[in-house]
């Protein structure tokens, strides 16, 4: 068993080494002329507005929780599946109960609309995103010189 895990570890190390060597070679061959504009964040040619490390509603919170539960469930089912042939009906019924409980959970989440991208806006299951999830990002201060330059470009 140690042999197999060592092999896997050697694969990890060689993978890292390959990337490192490739990046070092690339580093030696490439030109390096950084400028402020080149190093600015790409926003389709516009002036970048604020940071991207902000709070936003990514809508996947509940899905992440559901995933966690199902993933643990699958991890539990793997050993069951390996010995299923030898255990027969009793183990099958037990697994069915186990899966059944989780399926009830899935049905609940489904019914509540948490698997939807567009949350229902009206009715019993209305879900609106909390307003504090959308914080206003303060506009960046554009210097006078830059503004003049922009006007100049347009003219």
């Amino acid at each position: 068993m140690y042999f197999d895990f060592t092999t896997a570890f050697v694969f990890l190390v060689v993978g890292v080494g390959f990337i490192a060597i490739a990046l070092v070679i690339s580093r030696l061959l490439q030109p390096r002329h950084p400028t402020a504009v080149k190093l600015s964040t790409y926003e389709c040619g516009e002036q970048p507005v604020g940071q991207s490390w902000i709070q936003f509603n990514n809508r996947f919170y509940v899905i992440a929780l559901v995933f966690l539960i199902f993933d643990v469930e699958i991890a539990f089912l793997f050993p069951w599946a390996v010995v299923f042939k030898n255990l027969g009906l009793f183990a099958f019924v037990e697994a069915l109960i186990f899966i059944g409980i989780l399926l009830v959970g899935l049905a609940y989440v489904w019914r509540k609309g948490d698997l939807e991208w567009d949350k229902p806006q009206t009715g019993k299951y209305a879900r609106e995103a909390a307003p504090e999830l959308y914080r206003e990002v303060p506009a960046p201060a554009v210097s006078e010189a830059r503004e003049k330059a922009m006007v100049g470009e347009m003219a």
């Binding site: 061959l29 402020a36 899905i63 992440a64």
Partner: protein, 350 residues
């Protein structure tokens, strides 16, 4: 591989004089290097193939300039990428920005250690091989999320978040589809699973317990396609809305490492699919070239065919919307894969 090393140690050759530990480590490293080379070659050929396939499907010629029929195009592109300037945005988190490509490549690369390449030939013959592969490939989620976050770019962040939600969602049906196979074979060892399908195309697990295994295969195929972020599931890098998604702020060779990893992952899921459902290294015709090293040929061929279907789908289907993506995973594939487990279980008991 272990047997090979043992044989060398007890032979009369030069190898017997080396210390066993050293020899073992050298052989492991050589095996890993071989796989890394195969992955690099795979990306070179697959990128060319993909461009040609797309061109032919759209009645274009595709790359034609570099070499005969453009065959050296990707090689030239690699050289170009190698000498391009690596730009890290001033606002980015530099350390994490560097870390992401490493993680993205290492995850599929390490998984290749456990695949069955031929009868009794595996680099790491894990008893828990299938579990190991599913576990280590999940690392790629972290790589994409890290790339998106570290760039401090809005497109990248959205792409990274989408990648996380998508890969995480599709891991469930993929894992459940794998479970149906594990139930039938009673082992997590890839070689045992391939051995259970030996002896021709009619022994492949995809046909057994019809239609449950066929459905499980389709679920597995779609879910792994989504885990590779391939069209129609390429939302994390949807170029028409997110510029380039999680790798918007990556340039030069670091960018190409993400491409390399994507193609490595395609090869990985194709080979895992072949090993689980399509007979692994065994020949489709009973008794025909079904010995020893021929297994590598059959295994590789099955992988290539599956990759070609990935490409075919990519240039046929339009991209899904995010809500359709979530719908497909949680409301279609997951219930179907549960049905497969129950169906196969009942059939086995009957």
């Amino acid at each position: 591989m272990r047997e090979l090393i043992d044989a060398l140690l007890h032979s009369e050759t030069f190898f017997a004089k080396l210390s066993p530990t050293l020899l073992t480590l050298i052989f492991m490293a050589l095996g890993a290097l071989l796989i890394v080379l195969v992955l690099a070659l795979n990306a070179l050929i697959a990128v060319y193939a993909e461009r040609k396939v797309s061109a032919w499907m759209q009645e274009r010629l595709g790359p034609m300039e570099v070499g005969p029929r453009g065959i050296l195009q990707t090689l030239a592109d690699t050289v170009k990428l190698l000498v391009k300037e690596d730009i890290i945005p001033a606002a980015a988190d530099k350390r994490l920005h560097w870390l992401a490509p490493f993680l993205a490549f290492v995850a599929p690369c390490a998984a290749f250690a456990a695949l069955p390449y031929a009868r009794n030939f595996v680099f790491a013959n894990f008893d828990i091989g299938v579990f190991y592969v599913t576990a280590i490939t999940s690392l790629s989620v972290i790589a994409l999320l890290l790339a998106g976050w570290a760039s401090n770019n809005k497109w990248a962040l959205l792409g990274g978040m989408r990648a996380a939600a998508q890969i995480v969602s599709y891991e469930i049906p993929a894992g459940l589809a794998i479970l149906t196979i594990v139930m039938q074979v009673g082992s997590l060892n890839f070689n045992d699973i391939s051995l259970a399908q030996d002896g021709g195309i009619h022994h492949w697990l995809i046909w057994r317990y019809f239609p449950f295994n066929l459905i499980a295969f389709l679920v597995f195929y779609l879910a792994t396609l989504a885990e590779c972020n391939r069209t129609p599931f390429d939302l994390p890098e949807a170029e028409s809305e997110l510029v380039a998604g999680f790798h918007t702020e990556y340039s030069g060779f670091k960018w190409s490492i993400f491409m390399l990893s994507e193609y490595a992952e395609m090869l990985l899921v194709a080979l895992v699919g072949a090993a689980l459902f399509l007979g692994g290294w065994s020949s489709p015709i009973p008794g025909f070239l079904n010995t020893g090293a021929w297994g590598v040929l059959w295994f590789g061929l099955k992988g290539v065919v599956l990759i070609l279907t990935h490409m075919w789908l990519r240039w046929t289907l339009p991209r899904l919307r995010v809500d359709q993506l979530m719908h497909l995973s949680w409301k279609v594939l997951t219930p179907f894969s549960f049905a497969c487990i129950v169906g196969v279980g009942l059939w086995m008991l009957a």
